[in-house]
């Protein structure tokens, strides 16, 4: 039975199949919210209320001609989208969704998986940089360097913000952190600053407005993705969608109490909590304009990092005096 459960965990939920279907749904949700906030309709045509539109886009891109630039490093250029997709799906598996035995750590939930998931979520950034760099296109190279420049801004605040709830819970294992906050729901409020910081940092990690600088179309055309087309571009887009799901799932686990109970309960909580995070991300996207890359770095170090440290301080004080 345990073996069957693990296989289900890997392949169906929250594994490959679910991540693919759900990430397209989340993309639709994000697009729809964004569109409604802008007084537009958003996708309407494919499926009910256009819910199949992201899948249609994916299928269409898969069928398109796939061009590799003559001067590009062909092996690297072709391998990067696949590696990126594999990395984010692996990160998705580490989300403690159901079938987690708190007493016995296993391959999908172990002490320190918080660090592993953060690491796996950092890799796509490097992959995007390499993708831009290996395309040997002026716009891609600028896009690639912008990816790395931004990384220096948001990564540290994100780590600090995500680690403070872990400190309060006294565990580096996602499942235990979530269980701790489910047992003490009021303590969720302590981490509200950290949640805000992490939300903004995740927005930057996902390269969405106001941080869509690496592929700012009015400045550098497609940025990192200028030379990518067809299957490879489809993979990159899918990677970005799954990354959004995983990042939303991570925030939901760490800050919103995770997903308790059996399969159905965990499933429902996962959907509701990730959609809530994605909704906040979509609102953030709609109400802001794009900033400049130097503004991102200075904003991150002037505001995000101090706020994350403040959050850490609050957590330490509460842990010392109250608990």
């Amino acid at each position: 039975m345990a073996v069957l459960n693990t296989i289900l965990y890997l392949v169906v939920f929250p594994g490959l199949l679910f991540l693919f279907v759900y990430s397209t749904f989340v993309e639709w949700f994000d697009r729809k919210v964004y569109a409604r906030l802008q007084n537009r309709m958003g996708p309407t045509h494919t499926g009910k209320s256009g819910v199949l539109q992201p899948i249609a886009d994916f299928v269409k891109l898969m069928a398109k001609e796939d061009i590799v630039p003559d001067l590009a490093d062909k092996k690297l250029f072709s391998a990067l989208p696949v590696i990126g997709l594999a990395v984010v799906i692996t990160a998705g598996l580490l989300l403690p969704v159901w079938n987690i035995d708190l007493a016995a750590p296993g391959p999908i939930s172990f002490p320190g998986d918080l660090i592993v998931i953060l690491y796996l979520l950092s890799l796509p950034t490097l992959i995007l940089f390499l993708a831009g760099w290996s395309s040997t296109n002026a716009f891609s190279i600028i896009g690639g360097t912008r990816v790395l420049t931004m990384l220096f801004g948001y990564e540290v605040p994100l780590f600090l913000a995500v680690l403070s709830p872990a400190l309060l819970a006294g565990s580096w294992r996602l499942a235990e952190i979530a269980a701790f906050y489910r047992a003490h729901p009021l303590l969720i409020l302590v981490n509200i600053i950290g949640f805000g910081v992490a939300l903004i940092a995740v927005q930057a990690k996902l390269e969405r407005t106001p941080f869509d600088i690496p592929h700012a179309e009015t400045e550098i055309v497609g940025g990192t993705f200028t030379e990518y087309s067809g299957k490879k571009l489809a993979f990159f887009r899918l990677m970005a969608d799954i990354e959004m799901v995983v990042a939303a799932g991570l925030l939901a686990t760490v800050f919103l109490g995770g997903f308790g109970g059996g399969f159905l309960s965990a499933f429902a909580q996962f959907i509701v909590k990730t959609l809530f995070v994605v909704f906040l991300l979509a609102v953030l996207r709609a109400v802001t304009g794009r900033v400049r890359v130097d503004q991102v770095v200075s904003f991150a170090w002037k505001w995000l990092a101090p706020l994350a440290v403040l959050q850490l301080l609050i957590v330490i004080l509460i842990k010392g005096f109250v608990l």
């Binding site: 400045e219 550098i220 109400v287 794009r290």
Partner: protein
């Protein structure tokens, strides 16, 4: 590391073909160069082949956004050459459309600025509200883009009481929305952060490079033909020349939003004072030999048409100096030492209308500095010669 990036002739930031070649070091622009000529259509030559009345509709098609500006500028000049005076009601209606066009053009620009700054929500909102003024223009003239309301000696359509009320109602809606945009444009932190301090053009530079329109006014230079050299009835209506002293893209945004309010004011005055009477007089077919310079404040700045008549029913020469052309030198200067991220903003801030600005081919020899204007046949001969003498090239890189 230094490298060259081409912005255009095809680029997502550009709605029309033009080529800006930039030398960048990291994110900073070291040098900029502008190449024109991708959108040359030979309008001036064509104008010499058409009669005065046909030319109204030709000049209207110089631009898709300020179409009324060009046709009005032409009609103003042509009426002087034909020695006719349009009736008051005709004039009022002509410049009512002109102010409504300014409103639609500025709302359009606000949306473009929002898009270039990556603030798409602002873009969607302004363009939604632009529909209000587009509908008004359609009700007045029957068209949304090329209004075709001008004719020699007046306008082609009259306005009834019902429509007058509708326009006033529309203006109330627009005013309310513009106040909201003023608030957003001046307070949304990411938007202001992107615009403030970008593309600085000092007052002295604005004078030196002969900047026109909102570009000059944002540098504190109160240059507006409606005030400086009032045409039609502009010395009778009350309005202020909107200026800003920040000298940057934020200033240009603020100037345009302020101008929206001035235009609402002018429109209301026009509708309140609208005199009775005919809307047009009959125009003669031929003009005596003469020449005229017609100046007009288009949404983008001063528009100049220079017309020569030779006693026939066609103009001898029509020269168009669109405001965009006047703003190019200043743009190149302020692009230097800016960030790559600011290119679309700086360029969009002049509200470029490339098809307006593409007029004639003038060759300057880089070595001797000699200037000559070439005919099309010469160009074709030179091109053929060059093709014959060149070896066949493969994988040709961008010709920097």
């Amino acid at each position: 590391m230094k490298f060259n990036i081409p912005i255009g002739p095809q680029h997502p930031a550009l709605k029309e073909p033009i080529s800006i070649r930039l030398t960048v070091e990291g994110e900073v622009i070291q040098d900029a160069d502008l190449r024109l000529g991708y959108n040359h259509r030979g309008v001036e030559k064509l104008a010499e082949e058409k009669s005065w009345i046909q030319n109204i509709y030709l000049t209207e098609r110089i631009c898709g956004i300020c179409s009324h500006s060009h046709s009005t500028c032409f009609v103003q000049g042509a009426e002087k050459l034909l020695e006719i005076e349009p009736p008051r009601r005709g004039l009022y209606l002509r410049y009512l459309v002109s102010e409504l066009e300014r409103i639609h053009s500025h709302l359009l620009w606000l949306g473009v600025a929002g898009h270039e700054a990556g603030f798409d929500t602002f873009f969607m909102y302004t363009w939604r509200d632009r529909e209000v003024v587009m509908d008004l223009l359609e009700m007045i003239s029957g068209n949304r883009v090329h209004y075709a309301i001008n004719t020699l000696g007046g306008v082609r359509r009259d306005l009834d009481e019902d429509l007058r009320k509708k326009i006033l109602e529309g203006l109330v809606v627009l005013k309310k929305r513009s106040e909201y945009y003023f608030k957003i444009g001046a307070s949304e932190p990411t938007f202001v952060g992107r615009l403030a301090g970008v593309g600085r053009l000092t007052l002295q530079q604005a004078k030196d490079f002969c900047a026109v329109g909102p570009m000059a006014r944002a540098s504190g230079l109160a240059r507006d033909i409606r005030k400086d050299d009032p045409y039609a009835f502009y010395n009778e209506v009350e309005f202020d020349v909107a200026t800003a002293d920040t000298c940057d893209v934020l200033g240009r945004t603020v100037v345009r939003i302020k101008e929206l309010f001035e235009s609402y004011k002018i429109c209301e005055q026009i509708l309140r004072k609208l005199p009775d009477g005919p809307v047009a007089v009959k125009a003669p077919r031929k003009a005596k030999p003469n020449e005229v310079v017609s100046r007009y404040e288009a949404p983008r700045g001063e528009n100049i048409h220079y017309i020569i008549s030779n006693g026939t029913e066609k103009p001898e020469r029509l020269k168009v100096r669109a405001p965009t052309l006047a703003n190019y030198p200043a743009t190149i200067e302020i692009l230097k030492h800016g960030f790559i991220a600011d290119i679309p903003l700086i360029f969009a801030a002049i509200d470029p209308c490339i098809c307006c600005a593409e007029r004639s081919v003038e060759m300057i020899d880089a070595r001797s500095g000699e200037e000559r204007t070439l005919r099309f046949s010469d160009l074709r001969r030179m091109a053929n010669e060059r093709r014959r003498t060149l070896p066949l090239q493969r994988n040709v890189a961008w010709p920097f």
